[in-house]
């Protein structure tokens, strides 16, 4: 998810083509999209719905998460809330790109739509004054790799009927990768301890609602910590 960080162009070199910039992303998106398409079809979904999800939603972790949820027939509202939680981090990505995105509405809104973890990390490495068309091309290529992988996986999954237990652990693995990367970028260890403690409190209360309860407790903790630091300053 972070391979793109290694392609940072230095100002003295000629600009790297959009295709080359998205190559490391393609190496992750095609196989991971394939896994998504495969699991989706194996869970009983139609192949074109898997592709529709990759075109309309375009968010890896949320798409992996939706498979067991739709297989269990959970309500649309429940799945929307879970999507909100999984993708909340994206709110904070945009803040650092406010002045970097193009102003032409169509280009701007497509880039915002396509702002996945990987596209974000590629865009942040681009030098100042990169053309809008190149930024859009990067986002579109990245989504193309993701949709292509999904299509491949859906086709394979529709042919092969292997019922192998445990492949859905791909979601846990993906969350683990993202946790490690958030840990690498941390400014303190407190957010991790807060997560462990709030979950330990929330789970015995109600295993089914442990996630939402723990997030509410964590937000409250973050606000209290913020207020305490403010208090120290004044």
């Amino acid at each position: 998810m972070t391979d793109a960080n290694h392609t940072t162009p230095s100002p003295t070199q000629p600009p790297i083509s959009a295709l080359a910039l998205t190559a490391p992303v393609a190496m992750g998106y095609i196989p991971l999209g394939t896994v998504f398409g495969f699991l989706f079809v194996q869970a009983g979904g139609a192949w074109w719905l898997a592709v529709a999800a990759s075109v309309v939603v375009f968010a890896g972790a949320a798409q992996y998460m939706m498979i067991p949820m739709i297989a269990a027939g959970l309500s649309t509202g429940t799945i929307a809330l879970a999507t909100l939680i999984v993708n909340l981090r994206h709110v904070f990505y945009g803040l650092s790109l406010l002045n970097k995105l193009p102003h032409r509405p169509l280009l701007r809104w497509y880039l915002i739509f396509g702002l996945t973890d990987e596209t974000y990390s590629v865009l942040t490495t681009l030098p100042e004054g990169t053309r809008a068309s190149k930024m859009v091309l990067i986002a579109a290529l990245n989504q193309g790799w993701w949709v292509l992988g999904t299509l491949l996986g859906a086709v394979i999954g529709a042919q092969a009927k292997v019922t192998l237990v445990g492949l859905d652990f791909a979601l846990a693995s993906l969350f683990c990768v993202l946790t490690v990367e958030q840990w690498r970028a941390r400014t303190s260890a407190l957010p991790l301890w807060t997560a462990l403690l709030t979950y330990a409190v929330a789970y015995p209360l109600s295993p089914a609602h442990a996630m939402v309860t723990a997030i509410a407790l964590s937000v409250a903790t973050a606000i209290v910590v913020h207020r305490m630091k403010e208090g120290e300053k004044s």
Partner: protein, 108 residues
């Protein structure tokens, strides 16, 4: 076969929520950037939420069978170590998932 209209509804709802989150800073960015609490939450919450998602998924997987959580713990440890040192997301996810699938199919 899962119901088509239901899935289309879910996909549409997820699309709207995801796009809304990605668009929020561009619509309300000036307002958000002014508030120190937003920056604090931005530094704090992503690691917290990702840790909670990992915990919740692992606990969910471990309660699906009666073998104890050691398979989940081993697989997560492998993913974390690979990602920390080699930093190739695809490699970490594929090896961790394969190890888990092998453990689940052989051991239980």
């Amino acid at each position: 076969m899962m119901e088509c209209r239901y899935i289309l509804g879910v996909v549409a709802a997820m699309g709207v929520v995801t796009f809304g989150l990605r668009a929020l800073p561009f619509v309300a960015g000036r307002w958000l950037a002014k508030h120190p609490l937003v920056h604090k939450l931005g530094a704090f919450l992503p690691l917290t939420i990702m840790t909670l998602l990992l915990l919740n998924t692992v606990v969910g997987a471990a309660t699906e069978h009666s073998g104890g959580p050691w398979m989940e713990i081993s697989a997560v440890a492998v993913v974390a170590v690979l990602q920390w040192f080699i930093r190739n997301a695809l490699l970490s996810i594929l090896l961790g998932t394969c190890l888990y699938a092998v453990l689940r199919n052989v051991m239980v």
